[in-house]
């Protein structure tokens, strides 16, 4: 029965293009996200070079706007989000004792649409029409009158396509966590990282559709002369701000919650203690997710919504500081009295705590509406969000990467280089952004390509630029670490940190393609730690060894996403200055139609063709296990 359908198994490049294995998809997300992180970082360095002295002319004002826009957009949507997805893919199924995710095919689709959306956005550099209206793309700046070229079109369509990928990815994780937990893995036994992945996915589900609609409306305005944001046609520019921030504020929590999860795991492991206040951590995470939807107008205090609206949003915003504070204290109490090991992963985690507190404090300062009239659109805001995003999320991601690297790749990163990464990056980070608080308070506006001499901005900007280069060096050291490590043999044991508490440390590193030879039986929170404390060597199985069913790979997700990419181009260049045949096929929307056709055809093929998958037989399984 099991071998009734012989299945083609791909190797090499085709394996990566067709994979539906969440662990491989995690690696793909990591590579793509890392690649965009380098691009975004490079853009940041160019920005900082431009600003190192007053009246510099390293780049033109126009180029500066492009760099600034692409830096923000790239970092948030194409670097931070995918690297979060990388860790969620690599780790969440292992933490809940699942053999696979709920929708392996959709998961692959999510990756490829993200990648093609990101590529579309960045092709703008080659096309010579780069988005330059800021990552928030405010109107009327981004409308066809003030941004006539194709630049903002790349933003609209690139993000739209990448956004679809994120949305379906989020649904996949929600269903995986709800339906695929191992026996005994109740919700209140789930590791904190899984909890944060769960809430983040819920936020994605309810926040991203708002962005989808906003981008559609902006696209219609730009491509089909609609009037959503066109004031002369009765449109309303503030409407865009509402839509963008109804999505945008939950988005910042989408970013930070996984970092909270990572920090919880790492601090607990390396303090050799149970996470302090686990249930209050869960509660705080849920509450943050919930409140995150009620505060969007704190980005719009200066728009003129009136004192009542400002007061309400001000209070709602400050409320979020409460659950956030709970978490901070829980981390401190977890470390309290623990036998702490300062591995590279833990350095990042411990460094995260005070840094993130600083970002939270400036957040609450900004939340005071009257004071925000002073801070708004100044470098103070820039300092705030870099403290929470770089000092929070990015440190969290570095921590998670150092911690889970052996589980993902089977090799331990070098601890020495890891610690060097930490110190250069950490010091560089504070040099870059600490002074920006004061630049903001002195009145330096954000998003302006230069500043005058004699305003007292000079030395702080110089320090900031030096710090940025230090962060760049930290990143390079991390890359060297990766390369050095890749040359080492795959020797990581199941539980290389020896203090692993959760299920992923009960299986080989890297995890075999079926994750768990036998589904584990979970007997408590910190499932593996509990077995260790009871004197057991590993998890007790919940089932006998039997054939394991696996989904087969498919090239369709890749082609479907490629179709969307083509369609994006088609719509964008329907209005073009070319001549002859090329002009015609674009102008008649034939290219756009072709792209959509490719995607729809793939959907139909997918619907009609059943995937029976294949089975891995017990003999094959045990043989592998022995060899390991």
């Amino acid at each position: 029965m099991a071998h009734a359908h012989p299945v083609k198994r791909y190797t090499g490049l085709m394996d990566w293009l067709t994979t539906v294995d969440h662990k491989k998809i995690g690696i793909l997300y990591l590579i793509a996200g890392g690649f965009f992180f380098l691009i975004g970082g490079f853009e940041a360095l160019l920005i900082r070079i431009q600003l190192w002295k007053p009246l510099n002319n390293f780049v033109s004002a126009d180029t500066y706007n492009e760099l600034l826009t692409m830096h923000g957009t790239t970092m948030i949507f194409l670097a931070a989000m995918p690297i979060i997805f990388a860790l969620m893919n690599a780790i969440v199924p292992l933490q809940i004792g699942a053999r696979d995710v709920a929708f392996p095919f959709v998961n692959a689709l999510g990756f490829w649409t993200f990648l093609f959306g990101g590529l579309l956005l960045n092709v703008s550099w080659i096309a010579g029409a780069v988005p330059d209206a800021g990552w928030t793309s405010y109107l009327p700046l981004a409308d066809p009158t003030y941004s006539p070229g194709k630049g903002v079109d790349f933003y609209v369509l690139g993000l739209q396509i990448a956004g679809i990928g994120t949305l379906v990815g989020g649904i996949n994780f929600l269903v995986t966590i709800i339906n695929m937990r191992a026996p005994g893995m109740s919700f209140m036994r789930m590791p904190m990282f899984t909890w944060s992945a769960f809430i983040t996915s819920a936020l994605i589900l309810f926040a991203f559709p708002a962005l989808t609609v906003g981008l559609v409306a902006l696209m219609f305005d730009r491509l089909f002369s609609a009037n959503f944001f066109n004031v002369s046609g009765g449109g309303n520019t503030v409407l865009w701000e509402h839509i963008f921030w109804i999505f945008g504020h939950p988005e910042v929590y989408i970013l930070i919650l996984p970092a909270f999860g990572i920090i919880s795991e790492v601090i607990s492991t390396f303090s050799r203690k149970r996470l302090f206040g686990y249930s209050s951590m869960v509660f705080a995470t849920v509450l943050i997710g919930f409140l995150g939807f009620m505060v969007w107008a704190h980005h719009m205090f200066t728009v003129g919504l009136g004192p009542v609206a400002n007061a309400l949003f001000s209070i709602a915003t400050m409320l979020i500081a409460v659950p956030t504070g709970i978490k901070i204290f829980n981390w401190i109490f977890t470390m309290w009295g623990g036998s702490i090991r300062f591995t590279a992963a833990n350095l990042f985690a411990v460094g995260f705590v005070p840094t993130f507190v600083m970002g939270g404090v400036t957040g609450v300062m900004l939340a005071a509406a009257p004071a925000d009239f002073q801070y708004h659109d100044s470098y103070f805001v820039v300092a705030h969000f870099h403290y929470v995003i770089v000092g929070g999320l990015v440190l969290g991601l570095f921590s998670g990467l150092h911690y889970w690297w052996p589980k993902i790749f089977g090799r331990m990163l070098s601890e020495g280089l890891g610690k060097l990464t930490f110190w250069t990056f950490y010091i560089g980070f504070h040099l870059t952004f600490f002074v920006q608080h004061f630049l903001g308070l002195l009145g330096m506006p954000r998003r302006v390509y230069t500043y005058l001499d004699g305003l007292g901005f000079n030395s702080m900007n110089l320090i900031s630029t030096i710090g940025a280069f230090l962060m760049g060096i930290g990143t390079i050291i991390f890359i060297i670490n990766i390369i050095v490590t890749a040359a080492k043999p795959k020797t990581a044991s199941n539980d290389p940190w020896e203090d692993g508490r959760t299920l992923e440390w009960s299986i080989p590193s890297p995890a075999p393609e079926y994750n768990f030879l036998q589904t584990p039986l979970v007997r408590g929170y910190d499932a593996l730690w509990k077995e260790k404390m009871d004197g057991n060597t590993g998890m007790s199985p919940a089932e006998p060894i039997g054939p394991i069913h696996m989904p087969s790979g498919s090239i369709l997700p890749f082609i479907m996403s490629f179709g969307l990419f083509v369609a994006g181009f088609g719509f964008m260049y329907a209005n073009n200055e070319w001549t002859g045949f090329v002009k015609e096929i674009f102008a008649s929307h034939a290219v756009a139609g072709l792209g959509l056709g490719i995607t729809l055809t793939c959907m139909i093929i997918r619907s009609l063709k059943d995937d029976h998958g294949f089975h891995i037989e017990p003999e094959e399984l045990t043989k592998k296990e022995v060899k390991e």
């Binding site: 029965m1 009734a4 709920a102 929708f103 959709v106 949305l167 649904i171 996949n172 929600l174 269903v175 709800i178 339906n179 695929m180 589900l205 309810f206 926040a207 991203f208 559709p209 708002a210 989808t212 609609v213 906003g214 559609v216 409306a217 219609f220 305005d221 089909f224 002369s225 609609a226 009037n227 959503f228 066109n230 046609g233 009765g234 449109g235 309303n236 409407l239 839509i243 109804i246 069913h549 139909i604 619907s607 009609l608 059943d610 029976h612 998958g613 089975h615």
Partner: protein, 206 residues
């Protein structure tokens, strides 16, 4: 565990939930509809914010909307929701022929709705209510058009399923698909009820 060990033999009582794959699909689809709710919620908000921005000399909703046609369309779509329920009931009783019949009727009703909508848009355009006329017209066509596109997608999808069931029969792989398509169809209906109220009835009142 695996879907295909159930492929042959007796069909379980609720075939859409018989396998983990099926349960995943149903849950995933509920969540997807949650996202769709936000999507339409945002479209409704935009419409409400812009519906009075008609511009000088352009027809208002009050002048344009013909409640008669819209009421017929509403009636057709609501009926199609009922026929899709009959289809799922037939599926649960394992009456494959009846299920297919009801699905075909659902598709035909959906096509009828779509035809009326296209005719309606066609008339509006002749009365000077084009997509780019005003903020009102842009938000009207986007909201109602998004719904129409969903109907179209549903028609294509359910037709494909009818074809699939004819070829492969009803089993634990096809049953969740039919069930989920039924959920989708109800969702579209609910959205339409809101469009009928918010766009047309409120528009007629002014």
């Amino acid at each position: 565990m695996s879907a295909h060990s159930h492929l042959d033999g007796e069909l379980p009582h609720e075939p859409e939930r018989a396998t983990l794959e099926g349960r995943n699909k149903v849950l995933g689809f509920w969540l997807f509809l949650g996202g769709e709710t936000v999507l339409f919620g945002t479209l409704f908000s935009i419409f409400l914010a812009l519906r009075d921005q008609v511009g000088d000399g352009n027809p208002t909703g009050q002048e344009l909307f013909k409640l008669g046609t819209v009421a017929i369309a509403t009636f057709i779509l609501l009926t199609s929701s009922l026929t899709s329920v009959f289809a799922i009931q037939a599926m649960h009783r394992n009456h494959v022929k009846a299920m297919q019949g009801w699905l075909i009727i659902t598709v035909i009703l959906g096509l009828g709705f779509l035809g009326l909508e296209i005719y309606e848009f066609y008339e509006y355009i002749h009365e000077g209510h084009r997509f780019s006329t005003s903020a009102f017209s842009s938000s009207f066509y986007t909201l109602v058009g998004f719904h129409g596109a969903h109907v179209l997608f549903g028609i294509v999808w359910i037709s494909l399923l009818i074809f699939q069931v004819a070829r492969k029969g009803l089993n634990v792989v096809t049953a969740p698909k039919v069930y989920v398509a039924g959920m989708y169809w109800h969702f579209i209906d609910v959205v339409w009820v809101f469009i009928f109220t918010v766009v047309y009835l409120m528009g007629k009142v002014g």
